[in-house]
Symmetry: none
Subunit: 214 residues, 4 copies
Amino acid sequence: MLQRAIDTEDKALRRADILSAARKLFLEDSRQLPSAASIARESGLAKGTVYLYFRTKEEIFVALLAEDFAGVLNAVIETFSGTWQTEGIAGFINRYVTYLDSRPEFLRLDAMSYSVLEQNMGDDQLRSFKLDLTRGLVAAGRVLDNALGLVPGRGVTLLLRTYAITRGLWQSLDFPPTMRALLADPEFAPIRPNFRTELVEALNEYWRGAMQTN
Amino acid sequence: MLQRAIDTEDKALRRADILSAARKLFLEDSRQLPSAASIARESGLAKGTVYLYFRTKEEIFVALLAEDFAGVLNAVIETFSGTWQTEGIAGFINRYVTYLDSRPEFLRLDAMSYSVLEQNMGDDQLRSFKLDLTRGLVAAGRVLDNALGLVPGRGVTLLLRTYAITRGLWQSLDFPPTMRALLADPEFAPIRPNFRTELVEALNEYWRGAMQTN
Amino acid sequence: MLQRAIDTEDKALRRADILSAARKLFLEDSRQLPSAASIARESGLAKGTVYLYFRTKEEIFVALLAEDFAGVLNAVIETFSGTWQTEGIAGFINRYVTYLDSRPEFLRLDAMSYSVLEQNMGDDQLRSFKLDLTRGLVAAGRVLDNALGLVPGRGVTLLLRTYAITRGLWQSLDFPPTMRALLADPEFAPIRPNFRTELVEALNEYWRGAMQTN
Amino acid sequence: MLQRAIDTEDKALRRADILSAARKLFLEDSRQLPSAASIARESGLAKGTVYLYFRTKEEIFVALLAEDFAGVLNAVIETFSGTWQTEGIAGFINRYVTYLDSRPEFLRLDAMSYSVLEQNMGDDQLRSFKLDLTRGLVAAGRVLDNALGLVPGRGVTLLLRTYAITRGLWQSLDFPPTMRALLADPEFAPIRPNFRTELVEALNEYWRGAMQTN
DNA sequence: TATGAATGAGTTTTCATTCAT
DNA sequence: AATGAATGAAAACTCATTCAT
């Protein structure tokens, strides 16, 4: 039997183990959530133990998503704090896209949140997830407002739209290995540009339009 | 037992019945695909009959999605053909958003395509769906190229990005009734602007940036 | 694959198959309901097929119980119809107890109805089970009223009390094999009289007291 | 952490705490045994601690049942000791029924003993429970024999049958709140007489028949 | 003794799909 | 072509009990 997680710190560690097992398995097949049994196996725990730390399987993945969201928002805040002006918007966009690259599960998971993840969660969990998200977004928006001298509240809007472009493009341009083979023919080229390149360009165009007085 | 659909026309009719039953049921609860049994019941057919017209349940909804996609692309083509210059980009955006409003199932279905619909389809079906999509997109892109005097191929890119913004915003801003109640608190206001308004603004900003020489 | 039960008669047959499989398995271990899987296996059907005929596992056993109840009530009605007077109450009691002997699962199942069976059933099923029961009881009571020249309604009461004595004694005196071994010591003799003997005596005493004018 | 129960008295106290917590929870929902976790919570102990005092969850409830049985038998003994003749059998029946009323969990628990409680107990526990029961019954039977001038051993029989009528009627006439609503229709009246009234009448009839020389 | 973290067996039911009629 | 009876895989979660601390 496993060593027991008695104090808060150990428990946090165990929770993190579960999350990391879930992340790993999800990356192996991003089209569906891994089973609770497989997550338990991968984290070296019994099934029941997993349910000691999360109330439903979906909660695990929403927690993962929350981590990633927090990470993005932090990246944004860091970018726009202190010395940001040296980089300009293009610099921000680059940093942002690079961050996304470091979190390959993020956008895949995000694409399931609307139709899969939010299905089987307690209202409380869902609400508190959305609340954290909102607060993080507002905080980051405020940093933007300051850094760019925007009308208060404009920062949140820009972030929301930036994020919309991101998730929208991802879902248009990411193909699982199987489909990639299926769409290898050059005729499909128009719908298969590279995600990263496309995102950078699209965001640059958007921000150019958005920052322009009109 | 139903009268048999012998000739091609009858068959097309029966197929349409199934599609319309599926659309109706999906609109009643857009968070999950209706069951095959309920679709059969709603269309007045037996379960087995439905499977004579579609190989899997998901195919039904992809067919629905294909119809809607074709509709959007048609709307785009119409807008940019002939007399379009009287409207300008803002006019196009308005028409586009209005069209979306008339197809309430479209974006909901679209939000499931990445993680649900494309899961359980034959490769053939998937490929031919994507092929139609690509061709339609390229055709519409060409119309844009002509109407706006763009570098050939630029039109497709603009459409792809326009669509990315649309689906991204939709997934950020559409909440099912249950969640709407859950997020009624004003603290959630920043993540709950009106979809239509937000989409119009975001698209205007994007197109402004995109059309600007740089 | 199995031959399909198309018409009503075949379906009734299939239903009966399931019931008889369930009865058999229950008799093998009367302390808990057999699993749905084992019932399917025993009746040579797939699990899903069982659920085509019964909405929950408990419904199967309640159906069994209903059959047995109907049987008892029929036995009562037959006993008291026509030529009954030749037998007297003692004759009725004998017939009744003999009938019970022929249905070894009946009282075991009955002992679970209060705490197990009625747990996982739809309200509709439960209500209609109770309704049938009530009607049968009232009908049999009426036959008693006539045969014995009782105040109308008295028959139902007598049946209810007769049944109470039966189930009460059963639960006091029936021991599963394991427990029988455990209670082999003569010290336990006072709580281990033979069920049948005891029931006959108790019923005779009860009816003697009940039929006596007072 | 709770103060440790070192001496026998403390232990008995703790045991009593658990029993009273279990009784309380069972009264709140008499259709199923409360969970071990809830019993621990309600008694202010840890789950593991409960298992220091009882080997299985069922043992707790059998202990409860044993307490109640002892109570009934005591009531019987008291009734028939000393001055009992002033009351007559009817007086005894009344006292008995009144005692039952004061122990609302008793018959509910009893109804589970056959199919639920005796399932998951150690043989030792089960045997010693039955032994106590037998001894108590024999003792009470003897008191009856004396008070009523019966053939030795007849008292036990009368008690056993009295109890059979009691538990049989209870299971026929007690309905949980949900079912009560379901059976509100007057058509169900025949199976819904009042338990107490019915029990008193049935016992009077039985004892009349039983005490009569024949 | 007391604790509560960890265990893992155990089972119903759904529902997309097939195929005998 | 149409039917609908039959199939059977698939998986989340609970909870009594144990045992390391």
